[in-house]
Symmetry: C2
Subunit: 331 residues, 2 copies
Amino acid sequence: MIDGPYLLFLGDAPDALAAKVAQGIRDWRPEASVGQFRMAGCAADMGLPDMTLAEAAAAGARTLVVGVANRGGVISPAWIEVLRAAMEHGLDLASGLHNLLRDEPELMATAMATGRGLHDVRVPETRYPIANGRRRRGRRCLAVGTDCSVGKMYTALAMDREMRGRGMKSTFRATGQTGILITGGGVPLDAVVADFMAGSIEWLTPDNDPDHWDLIEGQGSLFHASYSGVTLALIHGGQPDALILCHEPTRTHMRGLPDYPPPSLEALRDLALATARIVNPEVRVAGISINTAGLAAAEAEDYLASIEQLMGLPTVDPFRTGAGRLVDALT
Amino acid sequence: MIDGPYLLFLGDAPDALAAKVAQGIRDWRPEASVGQFRMAGCAADMGLPDMTLAEAAAAGARTLVVGVANRGGVISPAWIEVLRAAMEHGLDLASGLHNLLRDEPELMATAMATGRGLHDVRVPETRYPIANGRRRRGRRCLAVGTDCSVGKMYTALAMDREMRGRGMKSTFRATGQTGILITGGGVPLDAVVADFMAGSIEWLTPDNDPDHWDLIEGQGSLFHASYSGVTLALIHGGQPDALILCHEPTRTHMRGLPDYPPPSLEALRDLALATARIVNPEVRVAGISINTAGLAAAEAEDYLASIEQLMGLPTVDPFRTGAGRLVDALT
């Protein structure tokens, strides 16, 4: 686990998109951060107080989270200087960058000297068990997609927020880098060794109260040739009671696979149920989440209604309509 | 790749079963080994010439292959002495042990001093790509099982041998430790990082002649909660044209999962086809391979006939009946 609260490091982000990890933390865990740290030229703004490292430490920040993508795959000398100083002010560092903090000799040396932690959330920090397939107490909901990057994390976070707003017991379970930085913990599933994938998800979603819901962040797609094995491990390790089907209607081919058209929602429903029933015969599809960002408002409304009729399931865009109907469908 | 020919190290194997890796190499690649090395107390015998290290080196051996399981997870001092001496006689070492050769300081020091190689086949030695899903030339056959350890490797090896005996172009593609030691190369799929599983299998089964068959070693089972993700990555990376269904009829529950009954062959057929069609719409089930070791001869014959009638597919036990009918069914 990454200790909070955070100071969000926005670096010299050239635009808001470069700081999308910080934006995710800001949107979904507004209480998690005491402030933001921006360098000269930073064009992103989370609307948090700008703080020096000393101010952040005084305000109680425990970890500086790198909330910005680095340019060209290099952690610049200007960043290194700030990151080292943060450790000297008593903060740990956390990052989801492809370039690992631990591979930077200056950061490693400062971490050793100051005793601060370096959390590279792309790398598993836990020795996971082999999955045992035993049924666990508590309830679990998993978002599965027709493709990668169709809104699975957003859907699970929106459902978790809705459930907590209603006073229900729920936990968002992160399985990717951004989700881990948002919540402070989770499993970086794409970096887990094959034999331990399903076991890592059992570990992430343990026995719980009978009325507690884990909202598990989905990964990949059963229909994505590059990552389908990760998705199936997530289904079998997660033992979902409920599935939410996620889809992006304007996509013309699977992400990164120009020869592969996306599957229909019916095909996703059928294959997801067939695989999930192996570990939980009671599993059902509870609802559908559509990312309609590519459609105009009227088009989106028509599309949601047509899918709802076609599939006979509550169909929402959690960004436009909220996730309330998906939560209703769980209970 | 591991250089041949081999000297098979049987150590102090307490019984034949402890030397099953050596037995696999002896059975499937009899030409691969110049001899065997046995220590005091060894109860296994591959029927190969017993050789000293000097004799093996003189006979052309390039690699000593550890063909025996170590007791209690410890590479004993007596073994270490032989393994070091082998390197001093010019041999590389190859092992599929859980304890890695490279983790033994004395072996590492000798390897550095002599310039010999240490092949721990449980650890990937290659940086695999992300799968791209593109169709490749050549044909591919994958064995899929109702469970782990039902004869998938045996089936693929038997088919490869049959095809080569007929003068067909074929290659057995190893995806596990024993298969890699038998053939000298392959992908230790269970140790590959999640994101690269399917890509490692694309790498293993590249473009080939249109009439060449890859016989891909299966792993796990789509129905095995612990390892199903590995199996799906193998199906999607392997792009099989033909599937062979593998089954062991006396098994009462999934291996290691007492709560899970094995699926029917019909269920395996349906789910394997549904997933394999995502990457190759032309894929078909060509035949069925049953491990009838737990049945008497007459029972086995009846069982094979009943499955053949039920499923409408050529059904064999390659150990009892040969793999000829499976090969017939491919062409």
